[in-house]
């Protein structure tokens, strides 16, 4: 480990963003891929999701989800990992490449070119749903009983 807390938190944040991003959108934003070697070729598998009884209590196994994971090393030495929902190996590869590039000299450019647009898209997606939910919020009003 040895990374400080902020670095870890930042990396967690971009890895999550890359995992949640639509694969086509990530592909469209992707820069020219640099040379790399596989440390682990993309592999499809399952992850058991857990819930908690009553939302807060003891854990139980809810059911699985498909995921794809891989790891690679850039020619310049940075190691990128990905573990993303679904069965799209190209998505996992791009996520790992961006993870590696974000640890290198071009991090600021990659952030501007890939991560910032993905974050804006995600905000827009979430806000769109939240706005629709807000429109369905009930406003109660009380009928005043007529007293003669």
């Amino acid at each position: 480990m040895g990374t400080d807390m902020t670095e870890t938190a930042e990396r967690q944040s971009w890895m999550g963003l890359l995992a949640r991003a639509p694969a086509e959108r990530l592909a469209a934003l992707m820069p020219q891929a640099p040379e790399f070697d596989w440390l682990r070729v993309p592999e499809i598998g399952g992850v058991m999701m857990r819930g908690r009884a009553g939302g807060t209590g003891a854990p139980f196994n809810l059911g699985e989800m498909t995921v794809t994971r891989c790891a690679l090393r850039l020619g310049s030495g940075e190691v990128g990992h990905a573990c993303v929902m679904g069965r799209d190996k190209a998505h996992a590869q791009r996520a790992a490449l961006v993870d590696a590039l974000m640890q290198g000299a071009t991090a600021a450019a990659i952030r501007a070119q890939v991560l910032d647009p993905l974050a804006q898209d995600e905000d827009a997606r979430r806000s769109a749903r939240a706005a629709r939910a807000a429109a369905t919020k009930v406003d109660f009003f009380t009928m005043v009983r007529g007293e003669a």
């Binding site: 992850v47 009884a53 003891a58 854990p59 679904g86 806000s127 629709r132 919020k137």
Partner: protein, 361 residues
Amino acid sequence: MYVAVKGGERAIDAAHDWLAEERRGDPAIPELSIAQIREQMALAVNRVMAEGSLYDPDLAALAIKQARGDLIEAIFLIRAYRTTLPRFGASKPLDTAAMRCDRRISATFKDAPGGQVLGPTFDYTHRLLDFALAAEGEAPVARQGDPVAGDTPRIMDFLNADGLIQQEPPSDDTPADLTREPLEFPAGRDLRLQALSRSDEGFVLGMAYSTQRGYGRNHPFVGELRIGAVEVVMDIPELGFDICIGEVTLTECETVNQFTGSKSEPAQFTRGYGLVFGQSERKAISMALVDRALRWDELGEEDVGAPAQDAEFVLAHGDNIQATGFLEHIKLPHYVDFQSELELVRRMRREAMGEMKEAAQ
């Protein structure tokens, strides 16, 4: 008795060819795409994911197409695929308190903080066929309001604060997994919840309904029902920290039930819990009612012999893939079994006839 019989290959191949042709239907009608099923038959996709116990909307849509819309057949396909996947690990317990709610209602508190948010619901529709859907039209656009930032508070926390409801103390125990070890009884609540979440919706609905009609009554209120997106977080050992690996839509139902109390403890409400993949509220409510009914022993209630109180009955019969496998196998060739039964019945009749003749003489 099993005897290998050869033959039928040609008939089987021809049957499967015909199945493929029938699946496609009239070629003059445009073929369904997987994306169309995923987007426009979303609740069927959700059900196949929930009962197939594998969250992957594209695979569930493919399974529905392959199964010609037979959802149990589609669930079967998903379960079969699931067994081929290497298990990478388990997520951290999902934080449903941080759910981005599309819908969130409470039947117990009108003025619950966070409000009553209806979401894209069938409730309050008139259940009249809408013939406008039979014609092509513009894609509808939903209204938008002003969202409030922040997590939606849990209704149960309000009752918890006053000590009026049974607590669900957290733990970090590793739960039992019925996909790894065969289900055994008595089953703990972890196994019961896992089994119920993947059980057949119709079966769990029937069981839940039976409790409402008086077979193990436990007076449920829907304390809270929420549907929305939850992030899935998993520890990655190579990295030494956890990451979000995706986001899933879930339905969670918490019921507030009949209170219990004893000489030492004051009366308090008890609870049932439902958590299901996708927008699946009928199933989630049903699951919470059945979960509550199965807790009779730990809550010191009487076993009144109701079906929904019998964990073995509920859990062993709720799995529609086990059920359909055993049920449907009886249509497969049992020629030799039947031949022996036929012999037996003929002999018994012969003997009985012989006795009758002797008696008559």
